[in-house]
């Protein structure tokens, strides 16, 4: 029992302690009976109920208090008493809390969702009540705040009434700050917007001076900057446009442009438009001004060519038409003035269309003037032509005034005078002819004199005439020494004559005779002569005394008297007729003299005849033999001359084939590549040697023939002897060494240092002599001795001062009878010499001839088997040549002829550019726009005339272009294909094979050259050529001879046409 109790009590104590400690999990588990069992179940039930209660309360507390699920209630069954009260209290608290919190939550949620109309209405006490009133107040304040802020926001933000401020009372903390901030923001915005509105309004009203000054930040600041910048730009823009408008539009200073920086969009477009308008106006006005100025200065060639539209276009058309009209007017009027006034082509009239007012009047006046002049001049011309052709019947009838009328009258008068004169002249001529004919054939002087008086006296209306004949004088006397005899008279009494006989003539007749001039006496005194007839007598009024002369010799005198005056025609007739009379009389006198002489001469003639017959026979024989001789001589001369000339001219032809032969043979024989065998080298050497021999032979023959034809010139000049000797030494020492011969050159002491002779010829002779010496000497020596000698033999002409060049050798020598022969052409001492020793046999004969030309000679001495000595004697100074200045050793050597001053066969070097065409000013094409366009361009010239191409190439190179060349169309196309970009082609038209047109067509067919600029050039220059060239595909056409300026202009235009923007 104790242990039972103990365990039971311990268990109960355990559980009870646990419960007291809050652990409701323990239950009494001990076995119990009876009351203990009741206690156990009571305690266990209690623990269960407490547990349930605690669970419930805990659940409600957790749900409502912790998890926030309001509305929970504790449900505890089986509890009573305190525990039931507890449960109800808990539930009541939970319910209270729930409704309060829910109400608060309701209002808070409403506020949170923006509904400020709800208020907490739930009953509350204590802190909850405070919370309720706080929340309600807060809701009121929020509501007021929201209303205010909404109002301000609506007023300022939506309705645009700036300046509103929120008034909220009783807020503090964040709400106050919020209110202040809203007000501040509204204020800011207000002032900013108002400022912006101010400035914008000002701008809208045209006042660009205002700027936004209000403080701003962020986007407003950006807006402020933007608006201010915009205002500035607008101002600048307005200033600029105003400036341009004023300058161009008002001040008339063209060329202004608006410069506005930093604008874009519409403003930029506006600026550009203003500028383009200003530019347009500027260029148009300038162009118009240019043309107007030109017209004012008389240049009618300019036209307005600027682009224009609208009224400006009308103005342009009007002005151009006006210029055209003026131009045509002036050219027409000029033409008429020139034709009619200067060139004398009458009848021209000016035809001008479309002129009115003053111009039309001017034209009409000019035409009237021209017409008037034409009519008058033609009328005058008609008459003048008629007169010129002998028709004097016309007179000028045209209307005229002023000077022209005077001219017309003068001309008519002149024509009338001419008519008269002609009539008189005709009369004079016909009578002269008639009388001259009458006098023919008479042989008796008296008969002729009578005839003359009979005809002459009535012809000139004279009534009295006398003919005096002079007695024949001594030959040569011009003054009559004997008297004049009266031999015929007309109406004259025999006794009214002048004394004759031995007395010399006197009186007027004598005077006339002495003076040999006609004497005219007008108004003779009444008793001078009496002219009478059967019915009466009277004194003549006019007397004329005419001497008859022949070759200044007086033959006779005619005297005539008349009642009336002798007219000028009559006097002129006298003067002319008297000549005829003189001739006739002289003839008659001469004839009679001749007759007597004739008889005498006939007698002598017969004697002569016999003698001359003999002589003629002899002469005939002589002539025959002469003719034969001449023929022979001519034939001889021509044939030898022909031969020499032929050879001299053919020298070049003869030597030419040998040139290539010798060179090639030499190349082969030198065998540089070693490809030939020894034998082949031998062959080549032989060919070369034969060729050389042949050349030598030709040279010798030509030399000889030249000498024979007299064509070998000797050109002496200063020749230092040492030069000659050096030459000899250099040429022959090696040869003598080769052949193992000794070679000596010795010079005498008194030999002058210099000669005046032909170096080449001397060398030739010495060469000949020395090579002969070497050739014919197998062993021993060859020597050249130079001495000065006085050559008194007649071999050397003109001078005693002579140099002797003696070439001696120890060779085979020459037989004495052969000595003269060796100098003959083609002769050698032995006919076989040629075979053994070589040589042409011409050398010595040439040397002899040349020595002669130099004024010297060659002498040969020899001893067969011992040796030979050939001496050349040559004068120190070549004869016939004067030495310029003293021949001393100090003069410098002149080995080349001085620059020939005379024309001679040496023209000056071609060193001027004058032959080739050049542009008028090269600088015009190497600078500025043309210089830029042309520099470095590649041009192809296709032309077979190379001289023309050279001229063009030169000039095109000077302006900086690169020139390619092709000779014909085919080559041209090839060149285009294989060359780097050719930019322009100059194509000649007249070419063989493929002419220019064909080539152009071929080029155009190739797609990549379809637009290649081509300029056609041709020398034909016929009308229509240009059109034809362009029709065939050329871009333009320039005629030859090429005008460089025109060509370059065309090329520039093709490479960069004018309206391409630069």
């Amino acid at each position: 029992m104790a242990s039972n109790l103990t365990s039971q009590v311990r268990n109960i104590a355990q559980v009870t302690t646990a419960v007291a400690n809050g652990d409701l999990s323990q239950k009494i588990t001990v076995d119990a009976q009876g009351e203990i069992l009741e206690l156990k179940s009571t305690i266990n039930t209690m623990v269960d109920q407490l547990s349930a209660f605690a669970d419930e309360v805990t659940r409600v507390a957790r749900e409502v208090g912790t998890e926030g699920n309001l509305g929970g209630r504790a449900q505890v069954r089986g509890v009573s008493g305190v525990w039931k009260d507890l449960t109800e209290n808990v539930n009541f608290m939970a319910d209270n809390l729930t409704s309060q919190v829910r109400n608060i939550a309701l209002v808070s949620t409403a506020v949170a969702q923006g509904d400020l109309g709800k208020k907490i209405t739930v009953e509350a006490k204590g802190e909850i009540l405070e919370l309720k009133s706080t929340i309600n107040t807060m809701v009121d304040q929020l509501s007021a705040f929201a209303d205010e802020v909404t109002r301000v926001a609506r007023e300022v933000g939506t309705e645009g009434n700036l300046g509103g401020q929120a008034q909220v009372r009783g807020v503090s903390g964040v709400w106050k700050d919020l209110t202040d901030n809203v007000n501040f923001m509204a204020l800011n915005l207000t002032s900013q917007v108002r400022n912006i509105a101010q400035v914008t309004t000002a701008v809208a009203n045209g006042d660009l001076s205002k700027k936004i000054t209000v403080d701003a930040r962020g986007e407003i600041l950006e807006l402020k900057d933007t608006v201010n910048t915009m205002v500035e730009q607008l101002r600048a823009f307005a200033d600029e446009v105003t400036r341009v408008a004023r300058e161009v539009g008002t001040d008339g200073r063209l060329g202004g442009r608006a410069q506005v920086l930093g604008v874009s969009g519409v403003w930029r477009d506006l600026t550009d438009n203003v500028n383009s308008m200003a530019d347009n106006l500027t260029s148009q006005v300038r162009n118009i001004a240019q043309v107007a100025t030109a017209v004012a200065q008389g240049d009618l060639s300019r036209k307005i060519d600027v682009d224009a539209r609208g009224e400006i276009l009308e103005l342009k058309t009007t002005i151009n038409t006006m210029v055209d009209t003026l131009s045509s007017f002036s050219s027409e009027v000029t033409r008429v003035a020139r034709e009619v006034g200067s060139e004398g082509q009458l009848g021209g009239q000016a035809r001008v269309e479309g002129v009115y007012g003053t111009w039309k009047r001017l034209t009409t006046n000019v035409n009237e003037l021209a017409l008037n002049l034409t009519t008058q001049v033609r009328a005058i011309a008609e008459v003048a032509s008629a007169v010129a052709q002998g028709d004097m019947s016309r007179s000028i009838t045209v209307e005229a005034r002023g000077e022209v009328a005077e001219l017309k009258d003068n001309i008519n008068l002149m024509v009338a005078n001419l008519r008269e004169t002609t009539r008189a002249k005709d009369w004079l001529e016909s009578n002269l002819a008639r009388l001259a004919a009458l006098m023919q054939g008479h042989r008796d002087l008296m008969e002729v004199a009578d005839l003359i008086l009979r005809e002459l006296t009535p012809l000139v209306n004279a009534q009295y005439g006398a003919f005096y004949l002079a007695d024949p004088e001594e030959a040569g006397a011009t003054v009559p020494t004997k008297g004049l005899a009266f031999i015929a008279g007309y109406g004259a009494a025999q006794d009214a004559t002048v004394e004759t006989g031995a007395l010399p003539v006197h009186g007027l007749v004598a005077q006339a005779a002495r003076e040999k001039k006609r004497i005219l006496v007008e108004g003779a005194p009444p008793d001078y002569i009496k002219i009478n007839s059967g019915l009466g007598e009277a004194a003549p009024t006019t007397i004329v005394i005419i001497p008859i002369l022949f070759e200044d010799k007086l033959l006779g005198v005619i005297e005539l008297a008349s009642f009336s005056r002798f007219s000028d025609v009559h006097l002129a007739f006298f003067d002319q007729f008297v000549d005829t009379i003189g001739v006739a009389i002289n003839t008659i006198i001469a004839n009679s003299r001749t007759e007597s002489l004739l008889g005498e001469s006939q007698r002598l003639a017969m004697q002569l005849q016999e003698r001359s017959d003999e002589l003629q026979k002899q002469q005939g024989e002589l002539q025959r033999s002469n003719a034969e001789l001449e023929e022979k001589a001519a034939l001889l001369a021509t044939s030898s001359q022909y031969k020499s000339e032929f050879l001299a001219n053919m020298s070049h032809e003869l030597r030419t084939p040998l040139n290539s032969l010798l060179i090639l043979a030499r190349l082969l024989s030198d065998n540089p590549d070693g490809h030939l065998s020894d034998q082949e080298v031998q062959f080549a050497t032989t060919i070369h040697r034969s060729g050389s021999d042949l050349l030598q032979l030709i040279n010798d023959i030509l030399d000889l023939s030249k000498i024979e034809a007299g064509r070998m010139d000797v050109r002496p000049k200063r020749l230092p002897l040492i030069k000659l000797l050096d030459y000899v030494h250099a040429t022959f020492r090696p040869l003598t060494l080769d052949r193992g011969l000794a070679f000596e050159v010795a010079v005498g002491e008194d030999v002058p240092r210099e000669m005046y002779s032909d170096e080449q010829r001397l060398q030739q002779i010495l060469r000949n002599l020395l090579s002969n010496a070497i050739k014919f000497t197998a062993t021993g020596k060859v020597e050249l001795r130079v001495d000065r000698v006085q050559d008194t033999e007649d071999g050397v002409r003109d001078t005693d001062d002579v140099i002797a060049f003696a070439v001696s050798d120890t060779g085979i020598g020459i037989a004495p009878e052969k000595l003269p022969v060796i100098f003959e052409a083609f002769q050698q001492a032995d006919g076989t010499t040629n075979r053994k020793y070589g040589g042409t046999g011409l050398g010595l004969s040439i040397s002899r001839e040349i020595a002669g030309l130099l004024g010297g000679r060659i002498v040969a001495e020899s001893e067969p088997g011992k040796g030979s000595k050939f001496t050349l004697y040559v004068p120190v100074v070549s004869p016939g040549h004067t030495v310029p200045g003293p021949v001393t050793e100090d003069r410098p050597e002149l080995s080349l002829p001085l620059r020939p001053a005379a024309a001679g066969p040496f023209p000056a070097a071609y060193d001027t550019d004058d032959g080739w065409p050049s542009p008028t000013r090269l600088e015009a094409w190497t600078s500025g726009r043309p210089g830029r366009i042309l520099a470095g361009r590649r041009v192809l010239i296709v032309d077979d005339d190379i001289r023309n191409v050279f001229a063009l190439t030169h000039v095109l190179g000077r302006v900086g272009m690169t020139v390619l060349y092709a000779e014909n169309g085919r080559e041209g196309i090839e060149t285009l294909e294989r060359s780097a970009e050719v930019e322009v082609v100059l194509m000649d038209i007249m070419m063989p094979e493929m002419d220019g047109y064909e080539t152009i067509s071929a080029i155009r067919r190739t797609p990549r050259w379809a637009d290649l600029p081509i300029v056609a050039l041709t020398a034909k220059a016929m009308p229509g050529d240009r059109e034809k060239s362009i029709a065939r595909g050329a871009n333009d056409y320039v005629p030859k001879p090429v005008d460089i300026d025109r060509l370059l202009t065309v090329v520039c235009e093709l490479l960069e046409p004018e309206d391409t923007p630069s």
Partner: protein
Amino acid sequence: MSSERAGILLVDDMDDNLTALEAVLASLNEPLIRARSGEEAMKAVLRQPIALVLLDVRMPGMDGFETAAHIKRLDQTREVPIIFLTGADDDPAYAFRGYATGAADYVTKPFDPWVLRAKVCVFLDLYRKGREVERLRREIQDLKRRAGERT
């Protein structure tokens, strides 16, 4: 003018002489161009770069002097050296006339092939050196220009 190799121009109216010249100069391995007249020679100098001209004096039509004068007058070809080939019978004053026209040298026919070849080599050398000088000059100009741009 293109950038091809410069050649030697042989001018003579006789084909045989041209053959001989070619034979002498073939071993130099330079391009040899033939011309049978003054006009042909003028066309040849325009077509390609020429280092040296061997020019016969005596030709029918345009003679050697006239041809040389034309070449010397043209800007693009005036620097080309010319060697005249004269016949032995020609006037010695031809030499002077040749120099006056601007020829660089003259040789009498028939010439020694080795002498001619040596002369031709000298002139070819001269030509090459001239081209080199020209190239260097252009380089220097270029450098000068670029240096000027940089400063």
